[in-house]
Subunit: 249 residues, 2 copies
C-alpha cells in the first residue's frame, strides 16, 4: 500500500459498465463519491472506468487495492447476466462465491411482502464472496458488500448513495483535506507568475488555479488545500494580502 | 497494442486533475468524449482520472498508450504552475519540450489584437513536445497537440469540444458500434432469465440490461450492440418477438 503520510487515508473508485464507456449512460457517481470521501477524511486518488469484462475488472481491482487504503466499486451487481462484478471480486480475492443467507433472508421477506417472485435472476443478487461483510441497501434490499479493503456498491445512484452511507461506518478515516478558494475577476494568465511564487513559499499546501467565464468575462478561482488548518489559514491570508496589494482582489 | 479485432479501433481517456478527484469540479468531459468516439467509430475501453502529479500521469499514460489505439487526455494544459500535462507527456515519450513557433505565432497575434500581455505564464501554453502535431483551439487559440497515439486536450469543456473536433481528422476510425434499445415496463429481475438465453444465442452481440424507475414504477432498458447491422437487426427482431409473445412488450 502506498505510503500516503501519517493520518492520510486514500481511496480509488472503480466504475464498472459498458454503458458508461459507450456514452449511453452518463456517470453520476464519481462526483458524489468524491464529495463524500473528501467530507469524511478520505482522499480519492484515482478513478478508473472499465467495461463489463471479468479480466479487466480483476486486473483493475488488484492494481488499485494494492495501492490505496480502500477501493470502492459501482455497477454490475444487479440480477442480469451482464452483472458480473461480484464474481470478478471473488476471483480477484481468490475466494468462493455463493448465495449468502444473510443477504437472502431479508430479500425473501421483502419480495414476499410485495408479491414479487424470487426468480433465479434475483437470487443472483444474494451471491456474496466468502468472508465479505454485507453493506446495507435500504432502498431495494439486495445488499452491497465489503471484502478486504474493497467496497462493492450498486450503480443506480439512489442505491449507491445509501450503500455509501452504510459502508462509511466500516471505514478508517484520516485527516480531512481542507480547502480555501479565492475568486478573482482576472484571467489566470495574469496571476500565474505571482501564484507560482506563492506555491513555492508553501510547498506543502497544494495550490490549483481554475479558469471560468462569467458574463463573457474571464475569471480565476485559486484553490489552496491542506490537512493543517493553521497552515492553510496562513497561506490564504498571505495570498489575499498580496492580491489586495496588487489591486486584484 | 491490444488486438481488438479487424476494423475495431479502441481508445482510452485520461482525465488529469486534483479538482475532479476532490469533487470540487464535476467532470463534464467523459460523457462527451464517449458520445463523440462512439459516433465516429472508435470504442472507448477505459477511463482513468489521476491527480496533477507527474509520475502518476506518466505511468497511466504509458500503460494506456501501449494498450489502446488512442489515448485522449483532458486537463492540465493551462498557464499556471499546476498545469503539468505537456511536460508529463514529453517525459512519457522521452522527448524534449519547448516553446513551439507554430503554437506561439497565432497566440501572439491573438493576444496582441486584444491588448493582452504575453506573460511568461501564457508563453507556457505554447510549450509543445518535440514531434507533436498541433490540435487547433478555435476558442482561445492556445493549442492542444497529438504525439504518437496520444491526443492532449484542455479540460475546460468548451475548449475540449473544439479540440476533439479538430483532432478527429487525424484519427483512424473503425467499424461503428451500433446499438438497439428496447424499453420494457417490467423489472429486470423478471426478464433476466429469458434475456440471458437470448445472449447465449447471440454471443457476438453484447447485451446489457439497465433498470430505471419512472412514475414510481420499475422498468428495464435492454440494449444490444454490434458492429454488424444485419446481425443486430436479427437479434433485435427475435428478442422483440419473444417479448411480445410473453406479453411483455
Amino acid at each position: 500500500m502506498k505510503a500516503a503520510g501519517e493520518g492520510i487515508v486514500t481511496a480509488a473508485l472503480l466504475v464498472i459498465g459498458d454503458e458508461i464507456l459507450s456514452g449511453r449512460t452518463k456517470d453520476k457517481n464519481i462526483g458524489h463519491v468524491a464529495d463524500h470521501l473528501t467530507a469524511i477524511g478520505i482522499q480519492m486518488k484515482e478513478v478508473r472506468i472499465v467495461p463489463d469484462d471479468e479480466p479487466e475488472i480483476v486486473a483493475a481491482l488488484n492494481a488499485l487495492r494494492a495501492k490505496y487504503n480502500y477501493v470502492f466499486t459501482t455497477g454490475g451487481i444487479g440480477p442480469t447476466h451482464d452483472d458480473i462484478t461480484a464474481d470478478a471480486v471473488a476471483k480477484a480475492f481468490g475466494v468462493p462465491i455463493d448465495v449468502d443467507e444473510r443477504a437472502l433472508a431479508p430479500m425473501k421477506a421483502y419480495f414476499e411482502k410485495r408479491g414479487v417472485e424470487l426468480t433465479p435472476a434475483r437470487l443472483r443478487m444474494a451471491r456474496i464472496p466468502a468472508g465479505a461483510e454485507l453493506v446495507e441497501n435500504s432502498v431495494s434490499i439486495a445488499p452491497g458488500f465489503m471484502i478486504g479493503n474493497v467496497i462493492v456498491m450498486a450503480g443506480v445512484p439512489q442505491i449507491m448513495h445509501v450503500m455509501l452511507d452504510a459502508a462509511t461506518r466500516y471505514l478508517k478515516t484520516g485527516k480531512k483535506m481542507l480547502s480555501a478558494a479565492i475568486e478573482l475577476h482576472r484571467p489566470e494568465g495574469e496571476i500565474a507568475g505571482m501564484f507560482e511564487e506563492h506555491q513555492k513559499r508553501y510547498p506543502d499546501v497544494p495550490m490549483g488555479s481554475y479558469p471560468f467565464y462569467r458574463d463573457g468575462k474571464p475569471g480565476t478561482q485559486l484553490v489552496l488545500r491542506s490537512t493543517d488548518a493553521a497552515l492553510l489559514a496562513k497561506a490564504e491570508a498571505e495570498l489575499k494580502a498580496e492580491l489586495t496589494a496588487r489591486g486584484w482582489l
